[in-house]
């Protein structure tokens, strides 16, 4: 008997890959189920910029034929449908970056991460909505329409990888790539109740991924389970001659390591009062997740966390200078094709003295060393919030409205995520329940360099044992 459509789309990435590999279900059936669901959800959530249905079905049929003819599988994701933020280039296809400027721009080459997923057998269903040029954390988009939260379309999807989080949460795809320059994977993952992994700077190639700020951009994964994140990370991680910042360190067997037990893990917890005001519901989510991790055998260790604001601002300075350089020509020739928010957010970068920009880059070494030798010295991971407040409605954080409250919400949204981009450390957003409005709550794990497996191991144990209610988004 065939599987029901919701059982197909509700499966994990690892689970559906196993079923396709063992011919329990065909790639075409899975791809059609995802496309059907996209048709149902797209009108209310607007998480896709483009759906490539025919191309995806053709590739699915190829995958099925290959398997039938010789039993050969292309790789661990043979015939599995995914979709990615519209910031990853594929030769000859449009990659808008969520912008008007690139509405018809066709990429000259293919991103390394897409090539690696192709080689692993994955299918790309289309490109996912995102903030214009990955510039904002809310998921608003003037040019392609706002992306809306999977749990309630009147709420913020989070950004800039808004479509990636919503498509994964709503079971339209099994996993998605995103990019994170200041929280652009972790914030939308948190807002939509999925996992969002920002790997160590240098772990995953940025070649062929649209830049937001070169020095702070990280390519990462949004998925529904830690095992799924590990599976994708194992495919996309590793040295790439196309990106000189990638590391030659060996890529470990993430799916195996992500099953390493938690007992003995030292989880550093800072005094939350130093982080500024936190919403009571967010605090309760943090406390209950810590209690669950302690019950699993982790040791909670108080740590001293310095003021994160200087790190945030140093990252901002680097970013504004790099954005000013990248956007200079378009800002001069096509200013009207930018939203006012993106344009005005870039302007400060034109006035910052070059030596200070270089000093900011040079400071990363000392700041990272200091952070590792103090805050992280006696712990394996750090446990932090993602956002200081609950998921806001789209109206509450609408940048175009010009309201002070919206500006205040947006200003603090990356307070706990952007500093981690400056340090280049791996970080993972982990769902941990729901607030009174029924929107997801999450916590953030920050690890030592290249300790992605440990973060995923903790998240795996947490998701297997945590007792918060599990709710699947409904239309």
């Amino acid at each position: 008997m065939g599987m029901r459509e919701e059982d197909i789309t509700g499966s994990s990435l690892a689970g559906i890959a196993r079923k396709i590999a063992t011919a329990e279900i065909s790639s075409e059936e899975v791809t059609r189920a995802c496309l059907d669901r996209i048709g149902q959800w797209q009108p209310s959530r607007n998480c896709f910029i483009r759906v490539d249905a025919e191309m995806a079905l053709a590739r699915a049929r190829q995958c099925d034929q290959l398997r039938r003819r010789g039993g050969r599988l292309l790789g661990p994701l043979h015939g599995v449908p995914l979709a990615h933020k519209d910031a990853f280039y594929r030769a000859g296809q449009v990659a808008t970056g969520g912008s008007e400027i690139r509405r018809t721009w066709a990429a000259p080459g293919t991103a390394t991460v897409l090539s690696r997923l192709d080689e692993a057998g994955a299918i790309q269903l289309g490109t996912l909505n995102m903030s214009e040029f990955a510039a904002f954390p809310t998921g608003h988009n003037l040019h392609y329409g706002d992306c809306r939260n999977a749990y309630d379309p009147s709420y913020m999807a989070g950004g800039s990888s808004s479509g990636s989080a919503v498509a994964v949460a709503a079971r339209l795809v099994y996993a998605a790539l995103g990019s994170d320059t200041g929280g652009s994977i972790r914030v939308p993952a948190a807002a939509n109740g999925v996992l969002g992994l920002k790997p160590t700077y240098g772990r995953v190639s940025r070649h062929g991924a649209m830049a937001r700020f070169w020095s702070l951009d990280h390519v990462g994964i949004l998925a529904r389970t830690a095992e799924d994140c590990a599976l994708v990370l194992g495919i996309i991680a590793g040295f790439d001659p196309g990106d000189r910042t990638t590391s030659r360190l060996a890529v470990p067997d993430y799916p195996s390591l992500a099953r390493v037990p938690v007992p003995g893990t030292r989880i550093g917890v800072p005094d939350l009062s130093v982080l500024g005001p936190l919403d009571a519901q967010v605090e309760r989510g943090l406390e209950s997740s810590l209690a669950a991790l302690e019950a699993l055998g982790a040791a909670v260790v108080p740590v001293k966390l310095g003021d994160l604001r200087p790190l945030f601002r140093i990252a901002e300075l680097i970013g504004k200078c790099e954005a000013a350089s990248m956007h200079r020509e378009w800002l001069a020739r096509r200013p009207g094709d930018y939203s006012l928010q993106v344009r005005s957010r870039t302007e400060a970068g034109f006035f910052i003295p070059a030596p200070l920009y270089l000093d900011a880059l040079r400071l990363r070494k000392a700041l990272l060393r200091e952070f590792l030798n103090t805050t992280m010295a006696k712990v394996d991971v750090l446990h932090l919030p993602i956002m200081p407040g609950p998921v806001p409605t789209l109206d509450e954080c609408d940048g175009a409205g010009g309201h002070d409250r919206a500006a205040a919400i947006r200003a603090r949204m990356n307070a706990f995520t952007r500093p981690i981009n400056l340090l280049g450390l791996p970080a993972l957003s982990v769902p941990c329940g729901f607030d009174a409005a029924g929107l997801p709550l999450a916590f953030q794990l920050v690890g030592h360099p290249y300790s992605e497996a440990r973060l995923l191991g903790i998240a795996h144990a947490f998701e297997q044992n945590a007792r918060f209610p599990r709710r699947v988004p409904a239309l």
Partner: protein, 63 residues
Amino acid sequence: MDAPTLQMLAPRVLGHDITLERARELGEEIHLLCDAVAGQLHLLAYDDEPDDFLKILEENGHA
């Protein structure tokens, strides 16, 4: 940089005029960012280079 100077430079640097109020906002923003970097300069040594950051990440790598 004070607001009148920013306003005067805007046409050449940004390619368009800005109001004095916008120049004030920009000035405050730039001041905050530059202060953050200036406040940490004591951590820098002459030989520090931007790419050293990648080496520190690798040297402290925990697989």
